[in-house]
């Protein structure tokens, strides 16, 4: 047993990591609170397993990151934290079909729970980071998990992964933001992590009903902000396009999505002016 093995006791999924990298251990420890990050506990069941080790009796070279079932990726030491976070996402995206999952950020404040579906790389992490720093509770910065039995959105709180310009945008706007681990030259460029707020971690196992589904699109050339309702049939198609496992869930997934779109306000948002966008979100009822 390596001294650097660790576990992440997240909800709804936990992961046990057999790890030989001291660097990774200390990096990940910075990203999760002590209630979530800890040693592997033999009295708990873990949903996923990951292994981080080198070849040749673990002596030299790049690290292999993967699960018992599949190899995920090779990584040099400096990139390990980013690769690890992606590997955890990959485990959830490839192996879980209990929840209907789609690419979306989810935030909540009072009676409002906003689901913000958008493709990867379209700035939803930045958007959810800003909303969280404005006092919203973060449920997820990248995957919305819908419990098909209850119709509720289940949180999946994790460090917010910010890339390239997003990092400087957040740093400029919120100099106090808890940004950790800047990792340069990954395949996605520079990656850094924003720690979830205390309220977000406190609510890490509290599901809620979505009130709004807003399809956001940042476009710097957009002359004025567009914020308008869209039809249910358009909304459901766009959710399907953003889904990880709709094709696996079939009819069950369709029924759950139909119920979801009928119970929320569906909107689309195109913006260039961030301040205006944020104030629109604050005015929502």
């Amino acid at each position: 047993m390596s001294a650097y093995n660790f576990a992440i006791h997240c909800q709804p999924f936990s992961v046990a990591v057999v790890n030989s990298s001291r660097h990774l251990y200390h990096a990940i420890q910075q990203l999760y609170p002590a209630t979530v990050f800890g040693p592997i506990n033999a009295n708990l069941v873990y949903d996923f397993d990951l292994t981080v080790k080198r070849r040749w009796a673990d002596l030299a070279g790049e690290y292999l990151v993967g699960s018992a079932s599949e190899h995920f990726r090779m990584a040099e030491q400096a990139h390990l934290p980013a690769i690890f976070e992606w590997a955890f996402n990959w485990s959830v995206a490839s192996f879980q079909h209990y929840y209907l999952a789609f690419h979306a950020a989810v935030v909540q404040k009072g009676d409002l729970t906003l689901v913000l579906p958008a493709e990867p790389g379209s700035g939803k992490s930045t958007l959810s980071a800003m909303l969280m720093l404005q006092g919203w509770r973060l449920l997820s910065d990248e995957s919305c998990l819908l419990d098909m039995n209850t119709g509720m959105v289940v949180p999946c709180v994790r460090p917010v992964s910010l890339k390239n310009q997003s990092l400087s945008v957040i740093r400029q706007r919120y100099p106090e933001a808890a940004l950790r681990l800047q990792i340069d030259n990954t395949i996605k460029g520079t990656v850094g992590y924003l720690l979830p707020s205390e309220a977000s971690w406190q609510g890490y196992d509290l599901p809620c009903y979505a009130s709004h589904i807003i399809f956001p699109q940042y476009c710097s050339t957009q002359p004025n902000t567009v914020f308008e309702p869209i039809a249910a049939e358009q909304g459901i198609l766009r959710l399907i396009q953003n889904s990880f496992n709709y094709s696996v869930l079939g009819a069950e997934g369709f029924t759950a999505l139909s119920r979801l779109v009928r119970s929320v306000k569906l909107m689309q948002l195109q913006y260039a002016d961030t301040d205006e966008m944020l104030s629109l979100m604050e005015q929502l009822k």
């Binding site: 936990s14 046990a16 506990n41 033999a42 009295n43 708990l44 069941v45 873990y46 949903d47 996923f48 397993d49 699960s67 018992a68 079932s69 192996f95 879980q96 079909h97 209990y98 094709s247 696996v248 869930l249 079939g250 069950e252």
Partner: protein, 345 residues
């Protein structure tokens, strides 16, 4: 390390009663590795102890079951797409392995994952079927010429055929064992005793032949990474044969095809891993030759993930499997020509 998988499939109810949290964690990892989440879900669900399975585990198992259900749905869709082509064929067309188990709704198919659709046609009809498949959208993707020739000359199937739009892959077989082998199997009975699927142009081999094929597939080849899943499948298939009183005819059919030794060995392995009266009784039959015990124990060793003995057994199994699939002359040629063809590329 004791295999959690074997413990679970040997006695699902006991497992659910006794497993510790650490066991469940390890089990989930092993089930994922072997594609057995869904199968475990069905096995545990059939026991009275299902409510002892931790919620977290049963949700992961359900995830697997949903994935398996989606695959089975896709399989039926694909078979429907092939139906018009079948109506034009003049030869019989048999579904093999997973597709056959599913079409017959055998217990072994519950939660079983599969990747390709395996079909068997008479050797003389291969080009006719291949051409018809082409006009149904299935083509042969480019592959290294050496590998392609390997399929065409020495293997019992055509290079895999992919659909140009859908993700489906068909393995078109003209035999169940490589013709390059010194061992000649007689597959005429497979066609003669094939069972028609009501309302479809497809047929399947009878249950006994499905077992013989799976046994040949497991025992006379070189790979070991799927063996655990395969032996668990064979246990389900054997139970189904026993329930229907077909064990006496299983040994007759195995002899007719020329695969009695593979079948006997598999049943011997079953007595070691999943002890049952019917498996022991099968080996007592006068018509059944003695199992190759040493070889069977070598096989059982290959089911372990780690260890020196399992590693040695896997190496032996690899060499032996190749040796069985190819005559010495062909194997020697292949051992020299394959690396050369890679170098040339």
């Amino acid at each position: 390390m004791r295999s959690q998988l074997l413990a679970l499939f040997q006695a699902p109810a006991d497992y659910a009663r006794q497993a510790t949290a650490a066991d469940w964690t390890l089990l989930l990892a092993q089930l994922r590795k072997h594609g057995l989440l869904a199968k475990a879900y069905f096995k545990l669900q059939q026991t009275a102890e299902f409510d002892r399975v931790p919620l977290q585990v049963s949700r992961q198992l359900q995830s697997g079951a949903k994935y398996a259900a989606k695959q089975q749905h896709s399989l039926f869709y694909e078979l429907q797409q092939l139906e018009p082509m079948l109506q034009q064929l003049t030869c019989p067309c048999l579904l093999l392995k997973g597709a056959a188990y599913r079409a017959l709704a055998l217990p072994v198919s519950h939660g079983r994952l599969f990747s390709d659709i395996d079909i068997l046609v008479p050797a003389s009809s291969v080009s006719e079927v291949k051409n018809k498949l082409f006009f149904s959208g299935f083509y042969e993707p480019e592959m290294a010429e050496y590998d392609r020739q390997y399929y065409l000359r020495w293997s019992h199937q055509q290079p895999p055929l992919h659909h140009f739009e859908r993700d489906s892959v068909i393995d078109l077989h003209h035999h169940i064992f490589p013709p390059a082998s010194a061992r000649q199997l007689n597959i005429v009975p497979l066609f003669e005793q094939a069972v028609a699927i009501p309302g479809s142009g497809f047929k399947t081999p009878c249950l006994q032949h499905l077992f013989v094929h799976a046994a040949v597939h497991l025992f006379w080849q070189e790979e070991t990474h799927r063996s655990l899943k395969d032996i668990i499948d064979l246990n389900d298939q054997f139970s189904a044969l026993a329930e229907q009183g077909l064990l006496a005819s299983l040994s007759e059919e195995a002899i007719k095809i020329g695969a009695a030794q593979a079948v006997t060995n598999v049943v011997y392995v079953l007595t070691q891993l999943f002890p049952s009266d019917s498996a022991s009784a099968y080996l007592q039959q006068a018509s059944v030759a003695a199992p190759q015990r040493l070889l069977c124990h070598c096989f059982i060793n290959t089911l372990q993930d780690k260890g020196i003995m399992p590693a040695m057994c896997k190496a032996l199994w690899f060499v032996r499997g190749h040796r069985l699939k190819m005559r010495w002359s062909i194997l020697l040629y292949h051992m020299l020509a394959k690396p050369l063809s890679l170098l040339r590329r």
